[in-house]
Symmetry: C2
Subunit: 240 residues, 2 copies
């Protein structure tokens, strides 16, 4: 039950022929159930698969010389990790499951071949890559200019928007399977301070916390506070 297929995700960016879609889906992809903390891609290894998250959350992270973890990107259900596909060498980061997760793996060889020969497929991957580039740019702004309180607010607004897009949020409420240490590694903060800020956001009435869930209570005020612009959704079928 692969809810999110590679062809469908690409098709959003650039309409593909049925033949190509079948080719993409059929090509020996397989699905794995991963335990929390299982590695999806290991640094230094040759890249063999393009992963797609079906359920659960995963993270792309890197380590500082002294062993602190920096989470570069969060992978939510529906996300395609296309980065390794185009990299020239083994990746320098690790991709790991943050919760138990279901991930579909597509072998890169047939995909690379398709990109080589089919301009529409190449264009679709190009749009996908551009989309992710834009997402990364939007992470820079909070890291550069916002304070802890606002960083967390920005993250919650972002997660809400992304999860809403795949039907996993309702009425401002969305799953939050990450513990505070993981949030800290994603925001460049410290566990203890994440806790204090969360409590303050709760006391201030901006968010409500339940085990495993967050509810955004005052979306408008938070969005204005942090300059959050709802990220443009991938189009239903776009141009170039």
């Amino acid at each position: 039950m692969a809810t999110f297929s590679l062809s469908e995700r690409l098709d959003r960016f650039c309409a593909l022929s049925d033949e190509v879609k079948e080719h993409l889906n059929g090509s020996n992809s397989f699905q794995r159930l991963l335990e929390s903390r299982a590695e999806v891609l290991r640094p230094g290894e040759p890249i063999a698969y393009v992963p797609i998250v079906q359920s659960g959350w995963i993270a792309t992270y890197d380590l500082t010389p002294d062993g602190r973890r920096a989470i570069l990107e969060l992978g939510l259900p529906g996300d395609v990790l296309s980065g390794p596909l185009h990299a020239r060498e083994p990746i320098g980061y690790t991709v790991q499951a943050l919760t138990s997760a279901t991930v579909t793996f597509h072998p890169v060889e047939p995909i690379v071949e398709l990109i080589r020969t089919n301009a529409r497929v190449a264009a679709a991957f190009l749009r996908l890559e551009t989309y992710q580039h834009e997402r990364l740019q939007e992470r820079l702004l909070p890291l550069l200019q916002l304070r802890s309180y606002e960083k967390i607010a920005h993250l919650f607004l972002d997660l809400h928007a992304r999860l809403d897009a795949v039907g996993m949020a309702a009425n401002g409420r969305f799953p939050m399977p990450l513990n505070q240490a993981t949030l800290a590694d994603h925001l460049g903060m410290h566990e203890v301070h994440v806790n204090r800020v969360l409590r303050r956001m709760d006391d201030d009435g901006y968010v409500a916390r339940e085990k495993g869930y967050i509810t955004i209570l005052d979306h408008a005020t938070l969005a204005e506070m942090v300059g959050f612009r709802g990220r443009p959704r991938p189009p239903r079928h776009g141009g170039a």
Copy 2:
């Protein structure tokens, strides 16, 4: 005297036929001499051109609600701003010259058409985009986990590597046309603190400062301090 041509930059990532190269270079591109602070691309405008920096430095920046500037990316000589090419809508950020700069503008229409029809061109842009994605990822690590002193060291090592790649650095010495306020906006720090840290790095003997130039005196120690891995150079002609 366009030192850096679009076709040559793309050709590094994916070998292109001479015909395509001519097509890319010929298509009505033009060159402009921009004064410092002139805008290269304006937010909200439809995207008409792909800029390539020939000389001088430019910046992609965004503003917080209260008007603080966050510099997302620095454009150095030879850099191609391909982002706008694939964006679906007007960009949300501003691109501005940080020094007087020479920039070549390529109209997007013919390029988009080429991408649509030529898989090799699309693949080349895909690799270019992936390369820039990786660069952005490498900016996240210092922002997430390093302190001011290390952030600046990381930036200097990065700039040195990039300028060295286009022959603008020698013996650890490279141009530094940015003032301290601009460095601050790039690192998420404050002007005054940038100044204090720079002085300290100078006193510590890690760097030397002259007007308009920086010299890295102890590359090895700094690189180890911040976990800097020399960025993989774009290959001479790569795979997928």
